[in-house]
Amino acid sequence: MVASSSMFFAGCSKLPEIILQSDDQNAGPGSPGPAFSVETVLRAENISKAFDGHVVLRDVSLSVMRGELISIIGPSGCGKSTFLRCLNFLEIPDDGVVTIADDTIRRNRGPWKAKDEAQAHQLRAHVGMVFQSFNLFPHRTVLDNVMLAPRVVKRTSAPVAEAEARDLLDKVGLGAAALRYPGTLSGGQQQRAAIARALAMRPEVMLYDEPTSALDPRMSEEVLGVMRALDEEGMTQIVVTHDMRFARAASDRTVFMEGGGIVESGDPDLMWDNPTDPRTRAFLGSSLR
């Protein structure tokens, strides 16, 4: 269980963290993983982004250890979604450096060229993403949704891709819905299918952009359950969310953003019980009520 290990370093997110690897996710052949490892899997440095002169992000930095579950919270318009989308270059940051695994992209105001897009393509291979509105492909069955990217991008053979897709669907509890079309599923089912779809590309980091905002509480719970299970398997996850209960109970670390920057980050229990910044206190106070 990852959450317990980071408790020791509550409020000290800048320090390297020692994380207990609870499974063999990183222990590939030839590199027998140590039982304890200190590994930064994602690092964003000084990310800035403006839309038409309106500054949305100002020098935002965040390092994420392998296996961490990080919740990013904050009021609407604080830039948290934009920050998340900058991590896999769905939004192109104006400035800053993003490193994921061993791929690094530096931005320095220049135009976004085909060469940069090729780099982003490489970097995105490490990242999966889940959207608020699911964005499943409505013209394909759930199974096809999950199989499509491995087939097209990785050229995985159909039988292998299907076997893996069915495994993933079983894992998110949708084994029986494999041949249905997204339009016939409930929102919770669709979001779980979207998670399976992202996992099919074997990402090292999963990004969630308000994954439960469009769902009622019961359906949210289905989705959050899947995310908790992934956390236990050691998946690195970054979640932009309005679900304060989840942010507090499930995350290893909570990041509070406001006005295009990170105000405070650290152990959720400490942040809730004893926020250091008055803005955090105000936000948590209002959202608790």
Partner: protein, 502 residues
């Protein structure tokens, strides 16, 4: 699909001109509405009849070569000759000074005059001088037209089709018709409502037209053959059988004999059109039309289907370029769409068929028709697809990008298939209107449904019954696609309902 392509290729191949020196002499005429020159035998629609047909056959026999008839619209006859589609044109082409400057002519094979035709009850219009103050109809670009133009006291109406001239005379829109002798006889005298009056007006000669400076040897052989036909009286015999031997011919050939030749063909024609008056005869005739209408419908379908394939493909490329391509390509695509949508389809088709040869691009009528329709509809399809692409939510492209698909992969597997569903109903409707617009390719010598209609109806002056038949053929062709459009719309509605439910 593959067998369709093979059939298409065969169809295209058969449209290419045959090569080789021993090929038959290709001669062109407009066999629609062209009694008694050249027309589809009323008794047997698949057989060509007419005095020019008889003359050509005899001329071919005399120079020892087969002859092959090429159908072309009157307006396209000379352009086609200039383009080398065929060696000669025989269609009552007058040997006027203007024509002789632009074309080479054989010796005349027929000399005649203009004649006046009026309604049976009409009196007092029995000479050229007495036409003053009346509305007179004739064919455009004829001696009669030139003579009438000089008469300030005559209201002149010119026509493309003889059958229309006489229809207007019967309906009282014209007071009289001044027209080439053979036409006056076969349309006027043969019609119980009309009659030929007064003395001949003017004099004109028909010659075989060749491209200026081309086929000189063939022309000389034809001259010799015509002379020999005059000498041995065979030209006289042919014309007499058609009741077309004229005092002008006697004058020109010096053959004043009056052999007892019964006007078989004239009588045969009279019987054929009289027989076709009764209801039963009409019905029988309509049944006889069916194979021709079926063939016309096939051609309409082939042209439309090929054009639609082209339009879909090119339209897709244009739409993608416009939305996702580099700036300059999008601009070009936009320009193409504006130009094509801003100019008439008719002009585009004529330009492709008759205009492009000026820069060395010669296309068969079928290919030109498909290109004209396809390039035009591509612009409309492009706009249709653009709307379709816009209807696919932005999130779809993002989801595909996040899954590490390239732009092209995202388009191919995610965006385009979804846009397609939105686009299909519109596309089906477009195909139905393309089916109807394909009637325009009849002007570049393709015998499709509309051309079949003009031809069949003008032979019998029966625009009504034939029109109903051809209209029904169009409806039947379009019906499957109307149903397809309805089905597609229903499916789309269902999938939208599903998404709304959640």
């Amino acid at each position: 699909m593959i067998s369709f392509l093979i059939r298409l290729a065969l169809c295209l191949a058969s449209l290419l001109p045959a090569a080789g020196w021993s090929a038959p002499v290709r001669w062109a005429s407009d066999g629609t509405s062209n009694v008694p020159y050249l027309f589809h035998d009323p008794a047997d629609q698949s057989r060509m009849a007419g005095f020019e047909n008889d003359i050509v056959t005899e001329l071919g026999r005399r120079i020892g070569r087969d002859t092959e008839f090429v159908q072309n619209d009157w307006d396209g006859l000379i352009p086609g000759l200039q383009r080398g589609f065929y060696e000669m044109v025989i269609d009552g082409i007058e040997m006027t000074p203007e024509h002789m400057e632009a074309l080479d002519f054989s010796k005349p094979y027929y000399v005649t005059s203009e004649r006046i035709v009026v309604r049976r009850d009409q009196a007092g219009l029995d000479s050229f001088e007495r036409l003053g103050g009346h509305t007179i109809g004739t064919l455009k670009d004829t001696l009669a037209e030139r003579m009438l133009r000089e008469r300030a006291d005559v209201t002149l109406r010119t026509y493309d089709e003889e059958s229309n001239v006489f229809a207007d005379l019967r309906d009282g829109r014209l007071d009289a018709v001044l027209i080439d002798g053979p036409i006056a006889l076969y349309y006027g005298e043969a019609d119980p409502m009309l009659r030929l009056v007064g003395p001949p007006v003017g004099q004109l000669s028909y010659g075989i037209a060749f491209r200026k400076g081309a086929n000189v040897l063939l022309r000389q052989k034809m001259d010799a053959a015509i002379e020999s036909m005059v000498r041995d009286g065979s030209l006289h015999r042919i014309l007499a059988r058609w009741n077309l031997w004229t005092p002008e011919m006697a004058e020109w050939t010096g053959d004043h004999a009056e052999p007892a030749i019964s006007p078989d063909e004239w009588t045969r024609y009279l019987n054929a059109i009289r027989k076709s008056q009764g209801m039963k005869a009409r019905m029988e005739r309509y049944v006889g039309f069916l194979p021709l209408i079926f063939r016309g419908a096939l051609m309409t379908l082939a042209v439309s289907a090929c054009a639609m394939c082209l339009a879909v493909l090119l339209g897709m490329i244009l739409a993608l370029l416009r939305r996702y391509g580099p700036g300059w390509a999008g601009l070009l695509a936009g320009l193409y769409i504006e130009v094509v949508r801003g100019t008439p389809l008719l002009i585009q088709i004529l330009f492709i068929f008759y205009g492009l040869p000026a820069i060395g691009v010669r296309l068969s009528p079928f290919v030109a028709g498909v290109l004209g329709l396809g390039l035009n509809y591509a612009a409309y399809e492009a706009e249709n697809y653009r709307a379709g692409l816009q209807s696919v939510a932005r999130g779809q492209m993002e989801a595909a990008t996040a899954l590490n698909m390239t732009h092209t992969q995202a388009l191919r597997y995610v965006v385009v298939p979804q846009a397609f569903r939105v686009v299909v109903p519109v596309m089906t409707n477009d195909f139905i209107s393309l089916l109807k617009d394909s009637s325009l390719v009849s002007i570049i010598t393709l015998t499709e449904l509309s051309q079949t209609y003009v031809r069949l109806s003008s032979t019998y002056f029966d625009y009504f019954g034939t029109g109903l038949m051809v209209g029904a053929a169009y409806l039947l062709l379009g019906l499957p696609f109307v149903r397809l459009a309805k089905m597609a719309e229903r499916r789309l509605a269902v999938s939208e309902r599903r998404s709304v439910r959640n």
